[in-house]
């Protein structure tokens, strides 16, 4: 890590955060927030957290920004003028914030130095993972092996969280009836009569490559940064790109709503199902080593590696479907008629 870079990126991050909160236009806020996420991504690469950076790039800077823009597009850009009479609540918020900051600063005084390789956190659990990952699982990317195996149970529920979020958005927004009694007029009129050839052509050319890259990220997660989650998000993003450059209906033709829900379901089911299979084969839940009994020509260690690949695929499928589903629901206000 390079400390000069660390300092300057952190400073820029704070500036971006201030700007996002202060700016009076929600669309600008969303864009600045995207820049903020990209800076985060740089920061994490700089600190050596490549997997986190990759996730942040695809999720924070990519999907979150798209979701923000979709939401702003469906509501309004304007931030209302400040009214008087909210002074009390602002004061309360300020006091709470300052108090929190103060408490955290007091705690900070006891922290070990930043970037010290001999902190308790670096000496207690993590040496085991670093030393043992090749020996236990034959996966050189320690983050993948910890994510999918040592703490695989967390990751299963992480997938479940995404699935829950997708369902929650459907539950909140989806309107099954054609008309909605308290619906508002469309906020912006977009030019649907103006299909842009250049954009469509380039998008069409790019999509297969994006999807290929997504598959590579999933499959190569054992050896390089990436894995099911990032791959799934990238795959989902390719559909979002299509939906933006062409129209909404066309993508719905490829990925209908039922398929989306079903795929999200299947993804989580693959994960939980592999765990359950281990249980049926006589080991504890998610103990992939017993999979060597059913997989041909694998020993216990390779079985762990293959098990991880299996669950990564499950994660990718679930994430891909849910990302698309959330985007569709937000951009069409839950009516699935037209979108950005």
């Amino acid at each position: 890590m390079i400390w000069q870079l660390d300092l300057s990126i952190l400073t820029l991050i704070v500036i971006c955060a201030f700007a996002t909160i202060m700016v009076k236009d929600l669309l600008s806020a969303a864009i600045i927030f995207g820049a903020y996420s990209f800076l985060m991504c740089l920061l994490w690469t700089e600190m050596g957290a490549v997997d986190v950076a990759f996730t942040e790039a695809s999720v924070g800077a990519g999907v979150s920004t798209v979701l923000f823009i979709a939401a702003v597009y469906q509501t309004t850009r304007k931030v209302g003028v400040r009214k008087s009479g909210r002074l009390l609540s602002k004061a309360v918020a300020l006091v709470a914030t300052l108090l929190t900051g103060l408490v955290l600063l007091i705690a900070e005084a006891d922290f070990p130095d930043f970037a010290n390789p001999f902190t308790p956190a670096s000496l207690h659990l993590s040496p085991y993972y670093i030393m043992q990952t090749l020996h236990d699982t034959n996966v050189p990317n320690i983050v993948t092996s910890v994510l999918a195996d040592y703490r695989g149970f967390d990751t299963m529920f992480e997938t479940a969280v995404i699935f829950t979020a997708g369902l929650a958005v459907i539950a909140i927004l989806r309107r099954f009836k054609k008309e909605d009694r308290c619906d508002l007029p469309e906020p912006y009129v977009i030019s649907e009569a103006h299909p842009d050839t250049i954009i469509r052509f380039i998008a069409r050319q790019l999509v297969p490559f994006i999807q290929l890259f997504a598959l590579y990220v999933v499959a190569h997660g054992h050896h390089s940064p990436g894995g099911g989650f990032q791959g799934g998000v990238i795959f989902g993003a390719s559909f979002i790109l299509l939906a933006i450059s062409y129209d909404f209906k066309m993508v719905l033709g490829i990925m209908s709503e039922r398929w989306n829900i079903l795929l999200g379901n299947i993804g989580v089911l693959i994960y939980a199902g592999i765990g359950f299979l281990c249980l049926l084969l006589g080991a504890n839940f998610l103990d992939y080593s017993v999979l060597s009994k059913v997989l041909p020509a694998t020993d216990k260690i390779m079985a762990r590696s293959h098990g991880m690949l299996g669950i990564e695929i499950g994660v990718a499928i679930a994430v891909l479907a849910i990302v698309i589903s959330i985007y569709f629901n937000i951009v069409s206000r839950g009516k699935y008629d037209k979108g950005l």
């Binding site: 030019s191 842009d196 250049i198 954009i199 380039i202 050319q205 790019l206 490559f209």
Partner: protein
């Protein structure tokens, strides 16, 4: 080899600088987009080429793979970045942003 790498990096940095200056100094939206779209693409292209070459200090299969990956990034940036610029410009034109002309605009 090193000299080529340094040359490419320096030119790349210069065009990044030019882009930034253009963004700040140009008078209206379209000319700013012009600076951003062209300069940015060129600059990142040069920088990435420099990286790909720098990687070739030792020629072997692994380094070759890395170089190919970097080159494919170059290709995709070359395709995507001008398209994005085009899309933004197009959207601005649609929503009625007027181009800047030499005549001073009427005071409104």
């Amino acid at each position: 080899m090193d000299i080529v790498v340094i040359m490419l990096t320096v030119i790349g940095l210069f065009s990044f600088f030019a882009t930034t200056v253009g963004l700040l100094r140009f008078p209206d939206f379209y000319s700013r987009m012009h600076a951003a779209g062209k300069g940015d693409t060129l600059a990142s292209l040069l920088m990435l080429l420099a990286l790909a070459l720098y990687n070739f200090h030792e020629v072997n299969l692994a380094n070759l793979l890395v170089a190919i990956k970097i080159l494919s990034i170059v290709v995709f940036i070359f395709m995507a970045s001008p398209t994005a610029t085009h899309a933004i410009t197009d959207a601005a034109f649609e929503s009625g942003v007027k181009p800047w002309t030499k005549e001073p605009e009427e005071e409104s």
